[in-house]
Subunit: 81 residues, 2 copies
C-alpha cells in the first residue's frame, strides 16, 4: 500500500529554512509571497496483509522515524500506486 | 491566498536521500517499507487581487524558484488559510 507523508515543523517552532527561502524569493522579485513554511514530503510503499495493518505500520513509522514529535507534526494519506 | 506546493525529483532521477532514509528505516526494524522517495513541501501565502492572479504567481514561482525543472516536478493546490 502506497502512502504520502508530510512532516512539518509545529506552527510555534521557528522555521529558519523557510525564512531563508522566503528572503531568497523576495530577492528574486516575488514580493507578494509571505508566511512560507517548509517541510518534508515522502512517498513510500508499506507491505502488509491488509490496509488496516499497513495503516498501523505507517502510523508507527511516522511517529518513530520520519517525524520528531518534539518539534514536528505529520499527516499521511493513501497515495496512488 | 494560501497554497501548498510539493516538489519531488522526477521518477527517473536517482533519489539518493530517499535511499539513505529507506536504509535507515530498515535498520530501525521497518523491513516492510520500500520505494521511498523524498521531496519538499511548502506552505505559503501569495498576495494578489484575485485567485486567478494568485495562481499565475504561484505557477511562475514554482517554475522559476522552488523547482529545478531539469530534475524536479511540482504540484500545487489551494490550502486552508
Amino acid at each position: 500500500m502506497r502512502f504520502h507523508v508530510l512532516v512539518h515543523l509545529k506552527p510555534d517552532v521557528l522555521d529558519a529554512q523557510g525564512q531563508a527561502i522566503e528572503q531568497a524569493i523576495h530577492s528574486a522579485g516575488y514580493e507578494s509571497v509571505h508566511s512560507l513554511r517548509v517541510g518534508k514530503s515522502f512517498y513510500l510503499d508499506v507491505d502488509a496483509d491488509n490496509p488496516a495493518d499497513a495503516r498501523d505500520e505507517i502510523e508507527r513509522l511516522c511517529a518513530e522515524t520520519l517525524c520528531n514529535p518534539l518539534i514536528e507534526t505529520f499527516t499521511y494519506e493513501a497515495a496512488p500506486a
